[in-house]
Amino acid sequence: MMIDLLFRLRKAQVPVSITEYLAMLDGLNAGIANYDIDDFYHFARLVLVKDERHFDRFDQVFGDYITGMQNAFDSVIGEIPDEWLRLEAERLFSDEEKAQIEAMGGWDEIMETLKKRLEEQQKRHQGGNKWIGTGGKSPFGAYGYNPAGVRIGQKTARQGRALKVWDKREYKNLDDKRELGSRNFKMALRKLRRFAREGAQEELDLNDTISATARNAGLLDIKMVPERRNAIKVLLLFDVGGSMDYHVQVSEALFTAARGEFKHLEYYYFHNFLYERLWKDNRRRHNEVLPTVEFMRTYPSDYRVIFVGDATMSPYEITTSGGSVEHWNEESGVVWIERILEKFPHAVWLNPEPEEHWQRVPSIKITHQLMKERMFPLTVEGIGNAIKQLQKKH
């Protein structure tokens, strides 16, 4: 049964491996979380899920899985013969209580009510309150002493509480549904690493030390150099909204990959084409904007600039002033992109539209020319070629 859970999780694209599955069994074996569904839920999540973005998917799968288990469980519970309950009751109830039962209309009647109540209970899974709440006053109060009765009641109570934990789906916001391609993108981006010695001098430079010591007539003269580090700096500029909505997934994958790969990474958004402003938070694009001029002043020209956009729009949006669909732009997109390219010589454009379509869309052709043929398709191969372009010396 547990194997089923593992496969369901994998199907829902929660990256679970055998290692984690075995670790979970190990933990269950050690007695962590054996008798409480809440504990089991927390423990399974602790072991199987390694990123809060997957919590929501886990909650859904786990909810399904437990509901399935409970249905199986309920069918078993339903089959407990009346005689068992009665025997248990007779063994446990005091004479006074038995008399009370009689006063309520006899055992059989109570049994009937119990069954009805149980059915009701199973239909509405959150009926736990009624069952327990009335327990004190109703005839079923007496059942509190009955192990069988208690078990039924407790089960529902516990399930009711536990179900809430994953049914709430509190981690929905954290899920970014990244594409599976993210890992491949990462490998492609990794080629952009450029190691350089920068910053504090903390490594012994052996060659220089030897020659300096020799020059120093044999007295030790230590020379240090900064350590080699990945010194590449990247600016990502994303086109958002409009026609880019179709490419959200692949853009997210690229973003995820880039964020994992580069230490110096900054990102900004624009809409359709580059004009005099950029922004960082798309929800607040009208309030928090960064003038493109300031953007160009902020980052030194050794940053690599990667545009991500489909460049699919009316050609006027690029070539004429006032062409933007969102606002009045004093200067045309052509002017702005040329400014940026002048400031940042290492720049490429990644286009999620398939390369075959490029020739048919005038705005893509214009952008391709403006970028001096440095437009590449947003695929693993395209990124590879773009990276090669970015590494060229200008």
Binding site: T19, A23, I32, L46, V47, K50, D51, A200, L220, N230
Partner: protein, 283 residues
Amino acid sequence: MTQRFNGTDTYISTDDLTLAVNAAITLGRPLLIKGEPGTGKTQLAEEVARSIDAPLFRWHVKSTTKAQQGLYEYDAVSRLRDSQLGDDRVHDINNYIIKGKLWEAFDADQLSVILIDEIDKADIEFPNDLLLEIDKMEFHVYETRETIVARRRPLVIITSNNEKELPDAFLRRCFFHYIRFPDADTMTQIVDVHFPKLKKDLLDAALKVFFELRDIPGLKKKPSTSELLDWIKLLLAEEIPADALHSDDKNSIIPKLHGALLKNEQDVHLFERLVFLNRRNKQ
């Protein structure tokens, strides 16, 4: 294995967090903790160590930290210098091997707690370089050709602020827990352990303001638990009464001493603007 963590008198631990810590102790797996800044990730290690009475070894990671530094460092430069000065120490290489935090913890006779704080600050390769050490709890010292094995598997607590993604191979070896921002009930408990003598009405008023503030969309830095505690400390010091916090007086909608809660100018401006709009709508 009788050492169990159940929260302490100064740290409120939720059920799932308690389970996570105890599972990590029982199974000897590292525990990776993520969560919003200010939810007590780093403090957790200190409280766990105190609660189970184990020594704590803190390893604060910076962008220049190397995995090797946690194991040991060989100080070749001082040895070279000593050899020139004719110091006797030079003949024993052990004099120049400086133990790192992991080595110190491995040497402990009892269960110890290692805190690897803010692992995401380090270079991308950092977690990968620690795979074997964390898995097997052992490492090899090349200079002396000995293998250091942990006498007792320590509890490793790793915190991350999500600035970088951690490699899959590393994640696979860890348990992962995400500290959620506490709800109002838990928050009351947390404030309670820090300020036991706080008046009920002041606490209610403060929490109300606090959660309303967190709900404002677009704040650059949402106030967190630690900021709330600082703010309450200030309120107490200034002896501000509870009704001053939730007065509907139009001129004082901005909470008193908000500087402790809102940490940058833009947020304060945004907040003032919202208050202004709100006031205009009411009129």
